[in-house]
Symmetry: C2
Subunit: 301 residues, 2 copies
Amino acid sequence: MNIAEGIWPPAATPFRADLSIDFDRYIMHCRRLLTDGAHGLAVLGTTSEANSLDLTEREAVLERLVAAGIVADKLLPGTGATSLGDAARLTGHALGLGVRGVLLLPPFYYKGVSDDGLFAFVSALIDRVGSGRLKLYLYNFPQMTGIVWSVALVGRLRAAYPDIVVGLKDSSGDVAYLDKLLESYPGFAVFPSSEALLLAALRKGAAGCISATANTHVLEIRRLFDRWRESDASTLHDRVSAVRRLVQSYPLIPAVKAILAARDKADDWRRVRPPLEPLDSKGRGELLSALTKLQQTAVPA
Amino acid sequence: MNIAEGIWPPAATPFRADLSIDFDRYIMHCRRLLTDGAHGLAVLGTTSEANSLDLTEREAVLERLVAAGIVADKLLPGTGATSLGDAARLTGHALGLGVRGVLLLPPFYYKGVSDDGLFAFVSALIDRVGSGRLKLYLYNFPQMTGIVWSVALVGRLRAAYPDIVVGLKDSSGDVAYLDKLLESYPGFAVFPSSEALLLAALRKGAAGCISATANTHVLEIRRLFDRWRESDASTLHDRVSAVRRLVQSYPLIPAVKAILAARDKADDWRRVRPPLEPLDSKGRGELLSALTKLQQTAVPA
């Protein structure tokens, strides 16, 4: 087994004026993330606006990345859907391209579903995909899905599918949940969704992190990952955490895109698909100037 | 304009042992609902487990119904999706078959989205579908979607698209919301999701109802709709409300399917797709015997 670890940014997706995907800019962005230190790319996640992409676009994104020469083994795409069939279709397609594994949201339309119902969903998905190469990373984001991959259910899934259910990305921000997972399942690849939680989580055995702000600050986050046992780890942690706190004080996806737009001098980056909205110019101005100030005052590494 | 009114059951979807759709049973069920008094069918709704069907299955359902001779003008399918493109695809496909209109969930992955963001989504959808025949019925179900079509947003959409945004199905159970809609927008086709709210809503100008339990009790609900101005309306209301209260004291979709299984002597009806689970035999036994008792003690019409 070759389980993912390290920093896997959920690459943001740039759109043209007609809201179609700007694949050239997208591939440039993905290449740069890898160059700047990402271990791989958790494409088609929440930050990527994957659930605002059509099913066929989600497939096209992976095909374009692979065609552009990005090694599929460095891809960890989101393939969740509300229906078993669509989740199986996306998962099978991604595996066919050779991806490292997939991030699986729970089926997120119906609420109040039981662990048994979720277990049945994953089990049926594994059967349908029918591949010995399948590696599932559960994607926990109750603020969006209304559903938790409970610690008990994770244990049941691991026990039933030890070679398939190999990790979890936690976007809940619930440190007690994260700690419980890390404590209960050593060797399970757990990724918090924020670099502000990375240092503490690495000390408890986390695999790395999959963070929206790794789209804009992958270099600094990678440095923290590489040096978390060193004496300057706390300083590196404080620095990435301050940036993260600032960025997430705005709507996160529009804020990440506003920073990319400023960095690349490309206003196109600011576009999001509805129902999301871009930051207004006031918010953008405040965010960018606060970010500049923060980076100027940061202690040099 | 030919706006929907009356009783439009959200037809339940029967599954075979391999969880594929049992189209023969489905078409039989839909025909029977129409024979028993449904004005039309709100197919592919929550009770239909539409979000547990693949996109291609959702298209196939409509094609099969039309091929089976069910008049498309009696169909009001759900065509919502988290992405604009998939929602536009499903809506365009349904309109191409000649349906009366479509029920539109808000894009339901991202939470905390603004009225402006939702307005932009609907507006872009209308542009993409680009059909003078489009009739949208907004589908409000915050317990599943985490999103409300606010009364203010409904007003904005009606004002911008008076010939397109013509109605709303409310599954929130929030009577104050329902009343506010009815009061604010006379002529807007509002459908509560429960026959227990039907009589009061009709008195305030509602169009009818789209109720899960119309799968099993359409005849009685239709009678209430036809006689709501008559002296026995309260008696009819009490009777359908008692049944509704009983059925919804169980998980609603599995309970509806358990009743259909008993009525048609077809255990296959009990199947649901994961993450939902069927009622266990104890729950089923209790529900069915309580239902029988209720129907025996009901005052004759």
